[in-house]
């Protein structure tokens, strides 16, 4: 394969419509450091939290919904306890939030870093879930594919 040709094609063919389609079907993703510093957020998060009444202020500050902040703190606490106890397996906690007729699934992952514990991270994945049927379908498929992953939280609805 000619790499120069591939490079040219890859960079030129960055179709807007493909990017949009990719964004639409992507989950919202936030990454926090162990000390809760925001390290990454994608556009999809802003779209999804706007649907439940939260958004970005005019000055560009992200206002995260309370259930998401609570989940993040829950994961941080759990992460700290696990690091103290030398437990290195990643774990998952999740919750469903219903607001304005929209239902969002928040899946939070604690990702301990054995080498540098301060580099441990919290990843939160946001997905919109539609009907109850679709919800059941999604719940059936939401799982970690790594056997070591521990699911320490349970799903519970939050009607706010």
């Amino acid at each position: 394969m000619n790499i120069m040709t591939e490079v040219g094609t890859a960079f030129v063919c960055s179709g807007h419509s493909e990017n949009m389609a990719s964004r639409q079907s992507s989950p919202g993703i936030l990454v926090f450091s162990r000390s809760l510093q925001l390290q990454y957020v994608n556009r999809r998060v802003l779209e999804l939290i706007r649907n439940i009444g939260q958004a970005v202020t005019e000055s560009g500050l992200i206002v995260l919904p309370t259930p998401l902040l609570e989940l993040r703190e829950q994961i941080q606490e759990c992460l700290d306890e696990r690091l103290e106890a030398n437990i290195w397996e990643p774990f998952e906690m999740s919750r469903v939030v219903s607001k304005f007729g929209r239902r969002l699934l928040f899946r939070g992952f604690g990702h301990p870093n054995r080498a540098v514990s301060c580099d441990s991270r919290i990843v939160i994945v946001l997905e919109e879930i539609g009907s109850a049927e679709k919800d059941r379908h999604q719940q059936a498929h939401v799982r970690m594919t790594v056997p070591k992953m521990q699911t320490t939280g349970t799903l519970f609805p939050t009607n706010s």
Partner: protein, 122 residues
Amino acid sequence: MTHSKIPPEVKESANPDRRGGTRVLKIQSCFYQLAQVAGYEIIEFSDGHALSLNTSPGGFLLLMPKPPERRQVFEVHTPLSTEEERTVKLVEACWTRELAFGDAGKVYLVGVRSLFETARSN
């Protein structure tokens, strides 16, 4: 449908740039999204296409039109073999190298470590 996983942990060496394992040549186009954030303020979103050049258990090598900062976390979407599914990977930039490309352009080799991934049906 979404499946998620955290890639296998690769032992860190004293040099964080060091390769995490044997690399396998695998050239494919992918889509990336970067976000510049300061505190809780979004400075800029950017996205585009990149080429994944090779892969190892802990990460892969990208050729990008624009360099992320070292240790910046960003998102890479790669198609799976079925073309009906793709993976969304969260990666951390370990190092970047600037390369001259064509007459006036520049591209960047970026070594990334995989942090987390989800697989999605299109």
